[in-house]
């Protein structure tokens, strides 16, 4: 039972992180390698703020969302928009967006690790103490409950938004073919900014929740999370919200299982194994559609 609780809360952190990654990749075609840096930076901004003034966690969460969204949009405007504007072909842009993201990620991570002297940082300054409940020997903290609720709320909202609203339809059409979408009068730039803001906000929220859950995180923790989130997205299928939820929970369950069954540090390899197996057996993911490309 305790494993189930661990799976749900770990999977929810992955979900908050991966939802934004998947939304940006599946609609506006940007696989943001700086997503992990945004996650860390939001949490780090809260840490810096707490050194100046004590704030309740609710305010911190709002600040983290704002910082994440802002950073994400700034990266979109300064890096990804510029690359797209100058790239000749979609494939060239793809590679350079990946590299631009890697470079952009190094900047905030460098600032954070310099200021924290490469040590893990936490949010103890908020004076927040998670309440712990026990049900028949199973321990659940309030942070875990909040994480699960936030993640499920975000996933439901995103799924509903993409499937049921006109703006969601516009976004999905950008994912299929952005040139045709532009002919239909869809302003790609505006949608790109909104999507990146949404993705960054969720990453920021995930950052604060994971920091509160673990007590402390290090400036480099974003990279590992990025590869895991990629595994979740690939497993579920790019562009499918249900897929991301299933992917994240599957990864979290497998990791928890490996952690309890084996000694040593093999748990990191689970996500890599998943990436391999999925790309081999079902490249479009569990819920993805096969992409058709004409020669």
């Amino acid at each position: 039972m305790q494993e189930l609780v661990a799976t749900a809360s770990l999977g929810s952190v992955y979900l908050l992180f991966a939802l934004g990654l998947s939304a940006a990749w599946g609609t506006i075609g940007i696989l943001n390698f700086a997503h992990g840096a945004i996650f860390v930076s939001a949490s780090y901004a809260c840490y810096e703020l707490l050194a100046i003034q004590q704030l309740p966690v609710q305010v911190l969460a709002v600040i983290a969302v704002a910082v994440g969204a802002l950073l994400s949009v700034v990266m979109q405007v300064l890096v990804f928009d510029q690359i797209r504007k100058r790239a000749k072909s979609e494939r060239a842009a793809e590679t350079r967006i990946l590299i631009g993201g890697i470079g952009a990620a190094m900047i905030p991570v460098a600032i954070a690790s310099h200021r924290t002297k490469n040590l893990a940082f936490g949010l103890q300054g908020s004076g927040f103490q998670a309440s712990v409940w026990e049900f028949g020997g199973v321990r659940i903290t309030s942070i875990q409950v909040v994480t699960v609720l936030c993640a499920l709320g975000a996933a439901t909202t995103l799924g509903w938004y993409l499937k049921r609203t006109r703006a969601g339809l516009a976004l999905r059409s950008l994912g299929v073919d952005d040139q045709v979408a532009a002919l239909m009068g869809i302003d790609r730039r505006r949608y790109a900014w909104a999507t990146m803001a949404f993705a960054g906000g969720l990453a920021g929220l995930a950052g604060v929740l994971l920091t509160l859950n673990l007590g402390a995180i290090s400036a480099e923790s974003g990279d590992a999370l990025l590869v895991k989130a990629f595994a979740c997205v690939v497993l579920g299928g790019v562009g499918s919200t249900t897929g991301v939820v299933v992917g994240c929970m599957t990864l979290a369950a497998s990791e928890t299982w490996v952690l309890t069954q084996t000694s040593g540090m093999w748990v990191e390899a689970v996500s890599f194994g998943i990436i391999f197996v999925v790309l081999l057996l079902r490249p479009q993911g569990i819920f993805g559609r096969q992409e058709v490309r004409r020669v």
Partner: protein
């Protein structure tokens, strides 16, 4: 002169190793295979060579040969499994391969030394041999950049369907990309272990993927000269950036972003187009017309290739 050489010996060794690591990413890129598996091969080469020297006391040449072959064999198997993937999927699958090698290195017990690594790997490697091996690799890569082979490589990269339609075996070329990447990457890892006499977890990590990729992109992805430029630049950059102290990583990140935006073909590509510009604007009218005609023909070829 020789004192400059001696005091920079470590940097020169690093640059030579970095050239090979960059080539292991660049060769597949030139064939349109966005594979970052070279870093995993580098890790395999680094650990295999350490074991060969420590356990079997082999000399430097057999160690190089065997560790490069081992890495190439693993890379070939990986290629057989994933050569069908394209673009970002292939990139991420190969990153997953690199990180899997890292996890194996961490959990490998006495074969890898776990988090501590392996030490005391001494052989008879000389600087002359190191230079010779790197030069040999560069010549081999240069051969693929001239004449018929170069045109085939370009077609396989720019339009695999067109290449297949004119009778090029695209699958064989893509698999070759994996094998060459494994050979060169494994050799780079081996040489790194032999020059440092130690191997550790830092020799196969996400950071190394970033370093190798940025070296190629900033230097230029379409010629070995780009790999050399990038390697020299990024080996000396930390020394040159000593004045910014702890903010190195930040400057480094900014350079990568600027290169991604403004230098699509890298420094070498920028140099080539600047030279072409120069030829067009300063040479007499008749030469200009000739150059224009040649450029135009080049564009037509490209359009034909793209359509």
């Amino acid at each position: 002169m020789s004192s400059v050489y001696d005091s920079n010996l470590v940097l020169i060794q690093s640059a030579l190793v970095a050239v090979l690591l960059a080539l292991s990413i660049q060769v597949p890129l030139r064939l349109g295979v966005f594979s970052l598996a070279g870093v995993g091969s580098y890790g395999i080469g680094a650990y295999v060579s350490a074991n060969l020297v420590l356990r079997y006391e082999l000399g430097s040449i057999p160690t190089m040969a065997l560790s490069a072959l081992a890495a190439a064999a693993v890379s070939f198997l990986l290629g057989v499994v994933i050569y069908r993937l394209a673009g970002l999927y292939l990139a991420m699958a190969t990153i997953a391969f690199d990180l899997t090698v890292a996890v194996v290195a961490l959990n490998g017990g006495e074969w890898t030394g776990g988090p501590v690594g392996l030490f005391g790997v001494f052989t008879d490697l000389t600087m002359g041999l190191l230079f010779a091996v790197v030069a040999l690799c560069l010549v081999a890569v240069h051969v693929t950049e001239i004449g018929r082979l170069a045109r085939r490589v370009t077609t396989v990269r720019e339009d695999p369907e067109l290449a297949a339609s004119v009778g090029i075996n695209v699958r064989a070329y893509r698999l070759t990309a994996f094998v060459v990447s494994g050979l060169v990457g494994g050799l780079a890892g081996c040489l790194n272990t032999l020059t440092r006499s130690a191997v550790g977890l830092q020799d196969v990590s996400f950071h190394l993927v970033v370093l190798a990729l940025t070296t190629v992109i900033v230097g230029g992805a379409l010629s070995w000269r780009g790999a050399v430029i990038g390697s020299v630049l990024f080996t000396w950059l930390p020394t040159a950036l000593a004045f910014v102290g702890d903010w190195q990583e930040l400057v480094y990140g900014a350079i990568v972003v600027l290169a991604a935006i403004f230098l699509p073909t890298g420094l070498y590509g920028a140099w080539c187009s600047a030279r072409r510009q120069f030829a067009v604007s300063f040479v007499g009218r008749r030469r200009e017309a000739a150059v224009r005609a040649r450029l135009h023909q080049g564009n037509v070829d490209k359009e034909v290739a793209a359509s």
